[in-house]
């Protein structure tokens, strides 16, 4: 219990004084996760729309595999990315291991199936609505995907949020491929793991509170930007 109080007091102190390390680690957490979110969305959302409008033979199988990939354990993804990016691995020549880029790559792989799956489910409903109209209007596949992505943007935002939530709290994969290097690849989650491992619970709790606050405020911000509540209509 005293650990909890100690953590709270230390957390407020770190925040109030805008502790340099804390700010650096927080910014890096945001940088890595938001970049991963952007890349993952660019990959996952059009793919989800494509899966909805285009019929091809392996479609059902693809959707099933996509849903299954949501259960991919993040730490295993980290391990595989590590092996690929290591100097003795196939992509070692790029020197990406133990850099934020490696962390972004791992997080993208982890959240793409999640975002695509959720987006696909909502876009499928929208498509069943739009189907007759868009076919009657003689639209191309691309135009159909455009219409779905634009009109379904609120639901797609939810999918992206889910991806963000998964990524910001992830620790296993990015610990492995990032190496938790001080001033280079240390982020909130890996720093918490480190401090806990050193027995410094107060500092770990402080970082934990910051992480929660960060995740919640980004969620609130995105909700405000999309005027979900004020317009009252999805």
């Amino acid at each position: 219990m005293s650990d909890l109080w100690g953590g709270l007091t230390q957390a407020f102190w770190l925040l109030a004084t805008l502790d340099a390390d804390l700010v650096e680690i927080s910014l890096r957490s945001l940088q890595v996760t938001l970049t991963a979110l952007l890349v993952a969305s660019v990959l996952a959302l059009p793919f989800a729309a494509f899966l909805v409008v285009r019929r091809f033979r392996m479609r059902r199988m693809t959707i099933a595999v996509l849903n299954a990939l949501m259960g991919l354990p993040p730490v295993v993804v980290g391990l595989v990315v590590y092996v690929f990016l290591s100097r003795s691995g196939p992509f070692g020549v790029f020197g990406l291991l133990f850099t934020p880029s490696a962390m972004i790559i791992a997080q993208v792989i982890i959240i793409v199936p999640l975002i695509a799956s959720i987006a696909h489910q909502s876009l499928r409903e929208l498509w069943s609505d739009y189907h007759d109209l868009l076919i009657s209007l003689n639209t191309t596949q691309f135009q159909r995907i455009q219409a779905l992505l634009w009109d379904g943007r609120r639901a797609l935002l939810t999918a992206a949020l889910a991806g963000f939530g998964r990524a910001i709290g992830e620790v296993g994969a990015i610990m492995i491929v990032g190496g938790n290097i001080d001033h280079a690849t240390r982020v909130l989650t890996t720093a918490i793991a480190l401090e806990t491992g050193k027995g410094d619970f107060a500092l770990a709790l402080a970082l934990g509170f910051v992480l929660i606050a960060l995740a919640v405020s980004v969620n609130l911000l995105i909700h405000r930007l999309s005027h979900t509540e004020s317009e009252g209509r999805w």
């Binding site: 910014l27 003795s88 070692g92 133990f98 190496g179 938790n180 290097i181 280079a184 491992g197």
Partner: protein, 268 residues
């Protein structure tokens, strides 16, 4: 709002792409947890303009990182493993830098009575007889290998230990945490123990046996095997680590008025 965010991103990206030289050094958790790196790294940055990026892992993984060429140099404390590393052509040479010692930690009550032991072999035998809870690093690290070696020299077979022997597969800090939570015995390096924040009911019970001395050595990764490693920077760091400046910092580093490391590098 959008502009502020973009500005913040730009600031962070630019900050991380600074112009200082940088190299990757794999070090053991024992070394890192002692807190010595927090003293040395800024000094290295000041003196050499060099950003040393520390990967804090167990000795086993440090050696593997060196073999794969994912780091430029390693700093570990397991002579046999180091020599095997060199024999495999993975490093250029081995340079001793400093040593610290291992100590035996345990519950204040000391049910196994190791406080009075004459040497470490006796102490370990007492723990085994009492079947007192014991936490082992279990992670193929220098500390772990040292511990296994000590059990062997006490004529005890680790394979035959019962449930009182807990092999956790973790770094020094995490293992100490577990020992603290279980109120168990554990072998740790003195520096990590002094710097450990969650001691609870544990205290230092046995130390001083010369067998427990722990030599740290620095090995640059072999540029013939991995041409991309920053060998020049690694050599530069080595030269600094054996310099008088390093000697002063290392010998002068204390926790609670106790010296942790003893500098013992020889000038080539």
């Amino acid at each position: 709002m959008k502009r502020t965010l973009i500005g913040v991103f730009a600031a962070v990206t630019l900050a991380t792409s600074s112009l200082a030289e940088e190299m990757k050094l794999a070090v053991t958790t024992s070394f890192h947890n002692s807190g010595l790196s927090d003293i040395l790294l800024p000094a290295i940055k000041d003196d050499l303009g060099l950003d040393v990026q520390l990967l804090v892992v167990g000795t086993g993984q440090a050696l593997r990182l060196g073999e794969a060429g994912d780091v430029d140099a390693i700093l570990v404390h397991s002579k046999n493993a180091e020599q095997a590393f060199l024999a495999g052509g993975n490093g250029t040479h081995r340079r001793e830098i400093m040593y610290n010692d291992f100590v035996l930690i345990g519950p204040k009550g000391d049910a196994a009575g190791i406080g009075a032991a004459s040497d470490v072999t006796v102490a370990l035998q007492k723990i085994a007889e009492a079947e007192a809870a014991f936490v082992s690093r279990g992670d193929d690290s220098g500390t772990h290998k040292k511990e296994l070696g000590l059990w062997a020299s006490a004529d005890l077979n680790v394979e035959e230990f019962g449930g009182w022997y807990n092999s956790v597969g973790a770094g020094m800090g995490a293992a100490l945490n577990t020992a603290s939570g279980m109120n168990a015995y554990i072998m740790a390096d003195r520096a990590s123990w002094l710097n450990f924040g969650n001691k609870q009911d544990l205290s230092l019970l046995f130390a001083g046996d010369p067998v427990l001395f722990n030599q740290y050595a620095y090995i640059p990764v072999n540029p013939e095997k991995h041409p991309h490693v920053k060998n020049i920077l690694a050599e530069m760091l080595e030269a600094w680590l054996v310099s008088d400046r390093a000697k002063t910092l290392i010998d002068g580093y204390q926790i609670n008025a106790e010296t942790l490391f003893v500098f013992n590098a020889s000038q080539k």
